[in-house]
């Protein structure tokens, strides 16, 4: 009969009146944030970074600016550059995470925050000092070693560079950004972590030279 479906609709809304709301009140309560969440506040480990600028090259928007000079602190290593400028213009960032994917040394991680709003666009460019001091809660996006360790950036504690580990799982057998990394990774091809460099490692004695793979938490 005419009108039955309308009554049905009324019943549906009435039923929903008694249900618990599905929305959450944001500042007080939050929905669960998943470990792979690609957030702001890039986590960058200077100790790992060689200044190769793969991230800058791979960024689709070109918002990463890197200026390097040959390292004076560790000239023996040769391949290590000293970073002078590392700016990420996160006002233009679209959080695709390709920079993280491109990083061959696992030095750059996506962050897990999303509340870095500023009043001016100028403040939205995060520079090298900001990156050094930032809270290191890396997202597990494209970092399976963190995922395997069950790291939760929101629940866990900040990780330092020795704890985040190296990527143990390679989708590509042959190359990654031009580097030859085949499994198992030969120990001589493992990137040498800068071992004794007191200028940016505070307790340099505690730093082991090569970091084991499953080192995270």
């Amino acid at each position: 009969m005419y009108g039955i479906a309308m009554v049905k609709g009324l019943m549906v809304t009435l039923k929903n009146l008694t249900k618990k709301p599905f929305t959450v009140q944001y500042p007080e309560e939050r929905v669960k944030q998943h470990p792979r969440f690609r957030g702001e506040e890039f986590v960058w480990y200077e100790e790992r970074c060689t200044g190769c600028a793969s991230c800058a090259k791979y960024c689709p928007l070109g918002i990463i600016k890197i200026v390097t000079t040959p390292s004076e602190t560790a000239p023996a290593q040769g391949d290590k550059y000293k970073l002078e400028v590392f700016d990420i213009a996160i006002n233009r960032c679209m959080f695709c995470g390709l920079c993280v994917e491109a990083c061959p040394y696992d030095a750059l991680f996506m962050g897990s925050g999303f509340e870095q709003g500023q009043y001016s666009r100028k403040e939205m460019v995060i520079d090298i000092d900001h990156l050094r001091q930032a809270d290191k809660r890396p997202s597990t996006w494209f970092r399976p070693q963190l995922e395997d360790a069950g790291y939760d950036p929101k629940g866990g504690r900040p990780l330092d560079w020795q704890e985040v580990g190296r990527e143990s799982w390679q989708w590509h057998q042959k190359e990654k950004a031009g580097m030859d990394i085949s499994r198992p990774v030969p120990s001589d091809l493992l990137p040498q972590e800068p071992p004794v460099d007191s200028s940016f490692v505070e307790d340099s004695e505690a730093a082991p030279a090569p970091v084991p793979n499953e080192d995270a938490e």
Partner: protein, 403 residues
């Protein structure tokens, strides 16, 4: 100098008015205390309606929030109940824009013209025993006359705004109001016939059982018609948010917008009050001598809830369908109702022309039967229109002929 209000005065029945009049009359001259008491009553009514509108805006937003399975405004005050105040402050400090091409005078009059009828209607509605501001013996007629002013206000708003969306809204609003006025009047005639009077007090006292039971068709028609006149879903064409954005009040901002909103929400309450009075036996209920206002408010609350509920559920009709609904569905229904009621009253009344409770029950039985029969008949008639089936034979497009 004790002033005495003569029993022939139309305000004589208003207990509150008499109390104020007598009290003030001890110190002021009679004519002045008459004015003072009138202003005091007016203040109570106006502020009552405005406060009620504010409160209802919060209640409705909360309710619709819950119907949507979300929370609704809850940031300020307990359960967000101070939200209307926050809205008001926000609207008061907003710039009061008038479009360049607007007719400034008419544009400015509109909010008042919208709000005035809403408040005026409350003048004749008794919200407890002996509390109607004016116990008019043509109360029903007065209500119908006053509520029609809204259509003029809507048209003024649409015309003065110099905006084509507003024009759409205004023309739709006027078309709707004019069409729905007819079935609404016809449906009220049934009530008047049964009650034997146009005075709202008499109608309430005639409702030994609520007229909702005696006049189900009239209630349905009146409810639908009122929804249309209030611009509420499924008849909210005049301010169809998704089509013409806000219709006639698209250009209003600041205080004027606040007044228009208050008028809209207040209109829901006053219409509910009228419906409560006419169909739900007004303030009467157990212990109505003392708790009449509570019954009255409770019944208004129920009706307002139903308004919100329907608003949260249904889509909107199209203008031609809306008018067809009025002329082809509601009008016949109200005429049938009027005819049936007239016959029943003719055969059931006693020598003095009164109907007692058992007569009302008999009428309720017959009228429910009539209502169901009507719905069935009209339902089958409309069913074909609701589901036109069959394959489509559209125009074919051949090369070269296109456009």
């Amino acid at each position: 100098m004790n002033c005495v209000l003569g029993p022939d005065n139309i305000l004589y029945d208003t207990l509150l008015f008499r109390v104020i009049y007598d009290g003030v009359g001890n110190v002021l001259p009679c004519w002045l205390s008459y004015v003072v008491a009138g202003i005091a009553m007016m203040m109570i009514l106006v502020n009552g309606v405005l406060l009620g509108a504010g409160l209802f805006s919060w209640v409705e937003r909360r309710l619709i929030g819950r119907f949507h399975n979300r929370i609704g405004p809850n940031r300020w005050g307990p359960f967000g109940s101070l939200q209307p105040l926050a809205d008001l402050v926000k609207l008061l400090v907003k710039e009061d824009l008038t479009p360049r091409g607007a007719d400034r005078i008419v544009f400015t009059i509109v909010p008042v013209a919208m709000l005035a009828p809403v408040v005026l209607v409350m003048a004749v509605v008794p919200f407890a025993k002996d509390t109607a501001l004016a116990n008019l013996n043509v109360g029903v007629l007065y209500i119908l006359a006053v509520t029609s002013i809204t259509s003029i206000a809507i048209f003024m708003a649409g015309w003065a705004s110099d905006n084509r969306y507003a024009m759409f809204g205004a023309s739709r609003g006027v078309a709707v109001l004019i069409s729905y006025e007819v079935p609404v009047v016809m449906s009220l005639l049934g009530v008047v016939l049964v009650a034997g009077s146009m005075s709202l007090n008499d109608i309430i006292s005639a409702q030994t059982i609520p007229f909702l039971l005696v006049q189900p068709l009239a209630f349905f028609v009146f409810f639908a018609g009122t929804s249309a006149e209030l611009n509420r879903t499924p008849f909210d064409l005049a301010e169809a948010e998704s089509e013409i954005i806000a219709g006639y009040h698209i250009e209003y901002s600041g205080v004027k917008f606040a007044l228009i909103q208050a008028a809209e929400f207040g209109a829901v309450l006053t219409s509910s009050a009228v419906m409560v009075t006419l169909f739900l036996s007004g303030w009467s209920g157990p212990a109505s001598n003392y708790l009449g206002w509570a019954w009255f408010l409770m019944k208004i609350g129920v009706l307002a809830f139903i308004f919100s509920w329907i608003r949260a559920t249904f889509p909107r009709l199209r203008i031609d369908q809306l008018l067809a609904f009025a002329w082809k569905f509601l009008l016949p229904l109200s005429i049938i109702n009027l005819f049936a009621t007239a016959l029943e009253v003719y055969f059931l009344r006693d020598g003095a022309g009164n109907l007692d409770t058992s007569d009302l029950w008999i009428m309720a039985g017959i009228n429910f039967g009539v209502a169901f029969a009507c719905l069935l008949v009209f339902g089958t008639l409309i069913k074909e229109k609701v589901r036109p089936a069959g394959p489509v034979t559209g125009a074919t497009l051949t090369p070269g002929e296109a456009d």
